[in-house]
């Protein structure tokens, strides 16, 4: 990884909803750095605050607390024209390829909109630019005149990606861009994202709940649970030597890839508690098989374990073989 | 829940304040002078001037408004400037027929329009569906006075089944009262049903494509049960909403119906009062109407929780 200035720095960001007395703690103190050309994945169960964090990073909503620096500039306090000006550096790809395209606009108009907004080039040039963008995401020119409902899911997601690329952002924030897609299409879009990233050197925050997909394309993984960061580190390390019991549980829950690999299931019981009423101490302790007294009382801080890995668990590092499946360490 | 109701009622204050000020201004800015009307067609200009002074109509608008507000503060709606009767008494006399008519109409509408809508949704696309919808739209497209005259002509004049006009108070027994309300409430229900049946149909149609309807069928429930239990309960919220919304337009229809069937209700009282610039009465009546409509809306909102358990009321 080139040691350049970070594209995105998120510092202790908190986002609460609802009444301050008993807020929904959607994001509760997340820090994160993404360097140019790097793909960082954000994984966690539904409702853990991934999308909220993504929206806060783009300043689509204000953080309750914390700082966000985009390409070295603090955008936490920006608003209006200044914010719009910075926003072009970070673009988003959305989960739902159906809802994220205006059904009444043609593909061309959709991709062109950001160019118009920022007056990129002369109006005639934009047309050429749009054509180039569409080609880049693998759509032939004839798609330009179509409406979203005339496209398949994969094609729509490509349009979404083209739109995100239009302003040549430094970072792309992709919120579950493939989870609504079919298996065969998913592979196409993942490949496209990886190609683009490699070619353009753009950084990417890839939000997903599918650790399988994440492992495939990310350099680093951040595991979130109930608004908190549980573990973060290089993908390789996280997949092979997960230190947090929650990360392990996530990995354990992935279905096997061949019937002959079936094994007794190691279930993570229960569901995440409500973010408006998180448990005392470690957020994960009610579902954790290793929980000790200290887990119930004290909230563990994110600690570095070296090798770029940090874990928020009192018990880490965990003894290896005793608790994990052979699968994780090959 | 109580807290919710309380907060809702507090939230009503600005709305009512708006109504009060708007109605006051509207009326007092309108040309036309109650004094001239009180004096009568053949009165002399001097007599008119005398009455005008007596009614404080020559005072500035603001002074008149304060006078009325001061009365309102003591829960006094004032007296009619014509009959000199307390406005509260006039409203009390008139509210029963209107309320009974509204209730009878709503009941008739629910009895007719909801099953019609459900049926049309179930058989959607069929001739029956189109028939039901055509009927309901026709009901909406014929002015209520035409329907009223036609009903009177057929059922009262030709067949002698029901009275031509008039209202028998509830105190004289339920049946005579209902008999006197049957024709007017049918006339109004035809109008109202158009709205309700359409919404009922659209809602049920949408609900029938919901997953839980398939679930109900998958566990072996037969069609009537699916339609009337599983679908209808879920259709409750939009149907009740449209009934609540329709209530306001129902009042409009009532003004006409009360004239045609000679029912001494609030609608006629209001129209008379507006036409005669009986300011205290108009203000009192409009205040009552707005409170009634607000209460109806509140009831509608509260009834949502009967149909949809997801809606619970906490002060918010």
């Amino acid at each position: 990884m080139p040691e350049a200035v970070a594209v995105l720095e998120v510092e202790d960001v908190v986002r609460h909803y609802g009444p301050p007395r008993r807020p929904v703690r959607a994001v509760d103190g997340i820090s994160l750095t993404i360097r140019p050309g790097e793909t960082v994945a954000l994984v966690g169960e539904s409702g853990c605050g991934k999308s909220t964090l993504a929206r806060v990073i783009l300043r689509l909503e204000p953080p309750t607390h914390g700082r966000i620096r985009l390409d070295g500039e603090d955008i936490t306090e920006l608003s209006g024209a200044a914010l719009r000006d910075r926003r072009r550096l970070a673009q988003m790809v959305f989960q739902d390829p159906y809802a994220s395209l205006d059904p009444r606009m043609t593909v061309e108009a959709i991709v062109r909109e950001p160019l118009d907004n920022y007056r990129v080039g002369a109006p005639e040039e934009r047309r050429i630019c749009v054509a180039a963008l569409l080609r880049r995401v693998g759509l032939v020119e004839e798609f330009a005149e179509r409406f979203p409902h005339e496209l398949s899911g994969g094609q729509r997601q490509r349009v979404g990606i083209a739109r995100a690329l239009a302003l040549q952002p430094k970072i792309i924030i992709a919120d579950e861009p493939v989870s609504a897609l079919d298996v065969s299409i998913r592979a196409q879009v993942i490949n496209l994202l990886m190609d683009i990233q490699r070619e353009l050197g753009v950084a990417m925050l890839f939000v997903s709940h599918d650790i399988g997909v994440v492992a495939h394309l990310s350099h680093r993984i951040c595991v979130m649970y109930l608004g908190r960061m549980m573990e973060t580190g290089p993908t390789e390390t996280i997949i092979r030597r997960p230190q947090h019991p929650y990360t392990r549980a996530l990995l354990d829950a992935i279905p096997v890839s061949h019937p002959s690999l079936r094994r007794p299931r190691r279930l993570l019981e229960g569901t995440p508690p409500s973010p408006s009423n998180p448990p005392q101490g470690c957020r994960f302790h009610p579902r954790c098989g290793f929980a000790q007294a200290c887990c119930r009382s004290a909230m563990p801080e994110l600690r570095s374990l070296g090798g770029g890995t940090s874990v928020a668990c009192h018990l880490a590092p965990l003894a290896d073989a005793s608790s994990t499946q052979g699968d994780h360490v090959q | 829940m109580l807290k919710y109701v309380g907060l809702r009622l507090v939230a009503v204050i600005p709305v009512v304040a708006f109504v009060v000020v708007a109605v006051f201004l509207l009326l007092h800015l309108a040309p036309g002078d109650p004094a001239a009307l009180i004096a009568g067609e053949n009165a002399s200009p001097q007599q008119v001037a005398l009455i005008r002074a007596r009614l404080h109509l020559d005072e500035p608008l603001l002074a008149q408004f304060w006078m009325w507000l001061a009365h309102l503060g003591t829960l006094d709606l004032g007296n009619s400037i014509f009959s000199n009767q307390p406005v509260a008494r006039l409203i009390a006399q008139r509210i029963e027929p209107t309320l009974m008519l509204a209730i009878a109409t709503t009941v008739l509408t629910v009895l007719f329009a909801v099953p019609a809508g459900v049926f049309a949704a179930w058989k959607s696309g069929s001739t029956l569906d189109r028939g039901v919808m055509l009927m309901s739209v026709s009901g909406f497209s014929i002015p209520v006075f035409v329907i009223g005259y036609a009903l009177i002509y057929v059922f009262a004049i030709q067949l002698h089944w029901l009275p031509v006009q008039g209202y028998k108070p509830l105190a004289g027994g339920l049946w005579p009262c209902l008999r006197s309300l049957l024709l007017p409430s049918i006339a109004l229900a035809l109008l109202f049903s158009a709205l309700v049946a359409r919404v009922a149909r659209a809602t049920v149609l949408e609900i029938l494509s919901e997953d839980y309807i398939r679930t109900a069928q998958a566990k072996g429930a037969r069609t009537p049960r699916v339609l009337l239990l599983h679908a209808l309960k879920n259709a409750g919220v939009p149907i009740v909403t449209v009934i609540g919304l329709g209530f306001a337009s129902l009042i409009g229809g009532m003004v006409v119906t009360e004239s045609v069937f000679n029912i001494p209700g609030m609608g006629r009282l209001t129209v008379d009062a507006i036409m005669h610039r009986d300011y205290p009465v108009v203000q009192g009546v409009m205040l009552t109407f707005s409170v009634v409509l607000i209460v109806v809306n509140l009831l509608v909102d509260l009834s949502y929780s009967l149909f949809d358990p997801r809606i619970r009321y906490r002060g918010k």
């Binding site: - | 053949n42 002074a53 006399q93 001494p264």
Partner: protein, 503 residues
């Protein structure tokens, strides 16, 4: 059982004080509750009513009245001289004829509980006629405490001494008024005639219903839900005629009439020639036909300003009114230099009758070359607009249509139009010294022949300066069930003497 008379009258009873409004419904209903000292019989002769006997002194200046025995207010107290004096005094202040009479009155004097004297400054031949005046404002007798109500306040308690008692607690303004028989009423011995004679309540209860919809009312009469309709619109009479058990008749032989009123202060109507052009532009025939078609029994073409059928009927100077000649009207307009100033017609649209009349008027004016601004409004606006003396810009007006009953118009004493009192005149504000002088002479005149001659002169002058334009007369046709009997002919709809059979 109890006999109940259900009547549908025209208009709503909006208030109860007959001296507070000129409205006919209030006048009619007041007759049930309140009694009068004198009244006119069917032949318009003044007859004593509450008064048992009376004397006029030789100099014609002192009238002494003795009340009949047994007269009682509805609250049980006996009727006294003081009550009557207070009532007359209030009337003198409110009524315009009363105002004229007040000029003659010196003082009242209560002789005893039943007898009182009226002393005049000089003899006045119309004294009894004034006290027996039958149309608004009628000098009704009220208990002293009500009669003492200041003239700028209205009476709100219906306590009278008449044959019926109003149940104020059952009053639903805008819908229903209830009267019950007054068991303590002592009627006169003479048979009922006009407003005079025996007022015997023959039903136990009268319910006066306000029904805004004429068709519903007629259907209700046909269905037997009500017994009586005060005004059957001409076009709907076939519905009644088709019913064998209904009677249809005009009770008031005089009827009422329609007038076109022009604003004399407003150009171009400040020019007499332009006003006369309007006379030529209109046709009574057209007006009546528009309203009554060929039902000739419903109307009467009439050139008289003091009413056809009244004592001062005349056709003096009526050629312009009686001829329709748009061409001549145009010529007159040209002569007068009419410049096309729009004529603002106050056109109320919420009463069918006036709506139709205005529609005809507007068309006739346009035909004669007037530019017309046909201003649609409601009655309330029209009533208040016509009080506006300002220019059209300031909310003023040029013309409106109205109607009066024959009882009011038939005498120069009560006909509001026949003055030239300028600012003090009725709407239209005609200003004419000659007419004023004639009017004064009429009041001074002592014998009937002289009055008649003056009245004819007044009409000639009135027609000349166009104080108003008389359109046709028409008759208010009532319909009632054959179950009713004893309905008396009178210019005022009253319901004593009426009885209702069970079947």
């Amino acid at each position: 059982g109890e006999s109940v008379l259900r009547i549908k009258a025209t208009g709503d009873l909006k208030q109860i004080d007959p001296l507070w409004t000129s409205s006919y419904p209030v006048r009619d209903m007041a007759y049930l509750v309140w009694d009068t000292l004198f009244a006119m019989d069917a032949k318009f002769n003044v007859q004593p009513q509450m008064v048992g006997k009376y004397e006029i002194s030789g100099d014609g200046k002192t009238y002494s009245f003795t009340l009949r025995d047994g007269l009682k207010w509805h609250d049980g107290k006996a009727v006294s001289s003081a009550d009557c004096i207070a009532s007359i005094e209030r009337w003198l202040k409110k009524d315009s004829l009363g105002g004229v009479m007040a000029g003659y009155v010196d003082h009242f004097e209560a002789v005893d509980a039943n007898t009182f004297k009226l002393v005049l400054k000089e003899p006045w031949g119309l004294t009894l006629a004034a006290l027996g005046k039958i149309s608004s404002y009628v000098p009704f007798m009220m208990p002293e405490r009500l009669a003492k109500t200041p003239p700028d306040k209205d009476v709100t308690e219906p306590i009278g001494s008449g044959p019926f008692i109003m149940k104020i607690d059952e009053w639903v303004p805008g819908s229903k008024v209830v009267y019950v028989k007054n068991p303590g009423y002592v009627p006169r011995a003479e048979p009922a005639s006009g407003m005079a004679g025996a007022k015997i309540a023959k039903v136990d209860r009268i319910e006066r219903l306000h029904m805004p919809d004429d068709l519903s009312a007629i259907n209700a009469l046909i269905a037997g839900e009500i017994d009586y309709i005060e005004d059957v619109p001409a076009d709907m009479s076939p519905l009644i005629q088709a019913q064998p058990d209904l009677v249809m008749k005009a009770r008031d032989p005089l009827g009422r009439s329609t007038q076109i009123v022009l604003n004399h202060t407003q150009p171009p109507f400040n020019n007499v020639k332009v006003r006369q052009a309007v006379q030529l532009a209109l046709s009574q025939k057209e007006f009546t036909q528009a309203l009554y078609g060929s039902r000739t029994e419903r109307f009467r073409i009439c050139p008289a300003m003091f009413f056809c059928g009244g004592p001062y009927e005349s056709d003096a100077n009526s050629e312009r009114v009686m001829t329709l000649d748009p061409a001549k009207a145009k010529a007159l307009l040209k002569e007068a230099g009419y410049d096309g100033t729009p004529i603002t017609v106050l056109h109320p649209s919420d009463l069918k009758l006036q709506d139709d009349q205005c529609t005809v008027l507007v068309q006739a004016l346009r035909r004669a070359g007037f530019t017309v601004d046909d201003q649609i409004m409601d009655l309330a606006t029209m009533f208040s607009r016509r009080t506006n003396k300002g220019t059209v810009k300031e909310g003023g007006w040029h013309a409106f249509v109205t109607g009066w009953g024959g009882v009011d118009l038939m005498s120069p004493a009560t006909n509001v139009y026949m003055t030239g009192a300028c600012d003090k005149a009725w709407f239209g504000w005609p200003c004419d010294k000659e007419l004023q002088d004639l009017r004064a002479a009429f009041f001074k005149a002592t014998d009937e022949a002289e009055r008649k001659a003056i009245a004819t002169k007044m009409q000639a002058r009135g027609m000349e300066i166009v104080t108003y334009i008389p359109m046709s007369q028409d008759f208010l046709v009532q319909a009632w069930s054959k179950k009713l009997s004893g309905v008396i002919d009178a210019p005022v709809s009253v319901f004593w003497n009426v009885s209702k059979a069970d079947k």
